[in-house]
Amino acid sequence: MMEKNDVILKTVGLSKNFGSLKAVSNLNIELYRGDVFAFLGPNGAGKSTTVGMILNLVNPTSGHVELFGRRLSDNPWLALRRIGAVIEGPAFYPYLSGWDNLAVLARSIGGIGNQRITEVLERVNLLDRSKDRYSHYSMGMKQRLGIASTLLRDPELIILDEPTNGLDPAGTKEIRDLIPKLAHESRAVLLCSHLLHEVELVCNRVAILKQGVTLANAPIGELLTQGQVLEVKVADLPGALAVLKTLDWIKSAKVENSSLIVEAPANSGARLNQALAEKGIFASELISRSASLESVFLQLTGGTEVE
């Protein structure tokens, strides 16, 4: 029996080329039981390709995937039966009802009764509409059915690709609340989302990809404290800006709303204040702001919008 903090998913030098295009390059990530791991990246970053390789839908060019301590290629079915996934949005048979769609999956997997279907539909608040055709569902209901399908076999790893797409604010909050609960049931959750604020709220670890290359792979807390944003109020803004531009340890500095916004290494407020004071510029206010995931993301990806 695996314990919390056991490695559930590990990718080792995982790479995928489509012709000359490097979709994923040497990806090394680890996902532990209890983790809510976010996978972020701009369009074409390689997130979906990576998820495809994890689920044995895409063959890696090099490297491999380990699930539950075993190579995926050794016995994919043994590993995949412990995973629930919604990939690139929910996709079900449009002519079947929500219930029948889950019944088809239940029959394919085996050992899942009608009681379990009822339970998972109830859990995502879809039981009362479960007899309606899937094609008549709203986007939010389709997302809920997608999540219900991942829970059907009581998985140890849940992969959710944009699970809040099309949900209203109440539905978004509901799913946002559900995700950490799923992970706390000694599972792990791999979340691909473009809502960075959401990711910051529910995830404990994050990997950021761009053009197949891993730009960051760390606990969110660690990532956010790698940099510090300081808001500095001074009387002589041009003079202060000129001083800061001579300091090589300052990452960036700009004037915004009569203040200087400075990106600097963590815990560098006193050092910055001293540098200004040495040039006869005295800060009237110095406010430390922790970086948001959005600012870290934009900084790492060069300001590209997230998918």
């Binding site: 994919p76 079915w77 048979y93 999956l105 029959r107 997997i109």
Partner: protein
């Protein structure tokens, strides 16, 4: 495997298209009988003297069953091809292929379950088509005022029909697998349906032109599809003027390959379609 077949049968049973194709089969078979009966009741200038008797003979027993099988070999093949190609290709169109594959024991088993479940539905459809032909024969015979004579119903007659049923299934399987493989190649239902039905209708025309060309080109059709399909269909006991006994539908009597040759050639194609379909399905990436 049985779990996957059960899931596939549930999908087919709940799908409106399955029932629509069945209704089309039944409807067209009824229509053909009704029209043939109507023509048998009228005299046409220039028609052979025995035209009425000939049409009534084909509608009545014992020819009704082989005639129904002959219709199934053509109309049934079209409908079965549509069903097979759409069952496979729509998994790509709807994006359900991803969730289906991560729920299945393996890609090969998933595909095998799909083919087995389609084969079961085709088998049931053929039985229903045959029953429709038989019932319509009884009705038109009664309407013509002809008596019922079941003296033909010998063991040898039923054995012949039994064998022809499976020969027809073989022909349908051939066209269905063509639809199946092109749906996989094109990752969509449409290439499977369009290519196989296109071949089903246009290949006989090309074959006719090749036969007319003479020389070695005239022998090429022996290794294509329709000549071999016709050779198998020709085994039916329906008279040639109604599409049996050689030449296919409305075709002039042409030299057909031997039946053994036809089985082997179509069998090779079936194996190639299966191998190509399974190989591509197993090897290719499933991407959005």
């Amino acid at each position: 495997m049985s779990r996957l077949i059960a899931a596939e049968l549930l999908k087919l049973r709940k799908r409106g298209m399955t029932w629509i194709l069945l209704y089309i089969l039944i409807g067209i078979m009824i229509l053909i009988h009704v029209l043939t009966y109507a023509f048998s009741q009228r005299a046409f200038p220039g028609a052979p003297a025995d035209h009425t008797g000939g049409l009534q003979q084909i509608l009545g027993l014992p020819l009704a069953l082989p005639l129904a099988l002959l219709f199934l070999a053509s109309l049934g093949a079209v409908l079965a091809t549509i069903m097979t190609a759409s069952t496979t290709g729509n998994e790509y169109n709807w994006g359900t292929i991803r969730i289906a594959l991560i729920s299945a024991e393996s890609r090969l088993r998933f595909l095998a379950a799909k083919l087995i479940s389609v084969a079961i539905v085709v088998f049931i459809g053929m039985l229903i088509g045959l029953a429709t032909g038989f019932l319509m024969s009884l009705i038109t015979t009664a309407m013509s005022g002809n008596g019922f004579d079941f003296s033909f119903a010998t063991r040898s007659y039923f054995w012949d029909q039994f064998l022809q049923f499976w020969r027809t299934f073989y022909v349908i399987a051939f066209y269905s697998l063509m639809g199946f493989v092109f749906a996989i190649i094109g990752r969509s239902a449409m290439p499977g349906i369009a290519v196989s039905i296109g071949i089903l209708f246009f290949e006989p025309l090309i074959t006719t032109l090749m036969r007319a060309a003479g020389g070695w080109v005239s022998n090429v059709p022996d290794y294509l599809f329709s000549a071999n399909v016709n050779a198998i269909n020709a085994l039916t006991s329906v008279p040639g003027m109604f599409g049996g006994g050689g030449g296919g539908f409305g075709g002039a009597a042409v030299a057909l390959p031997s039946v053994q040759h036809a089985y082997v050639v179509l069998g090779v194609y079936i194996l190639v379609f299966l191998a190509a379909g399974f190989y591509l399905f197993r090897k290719r990436d499933v991407t959005g």
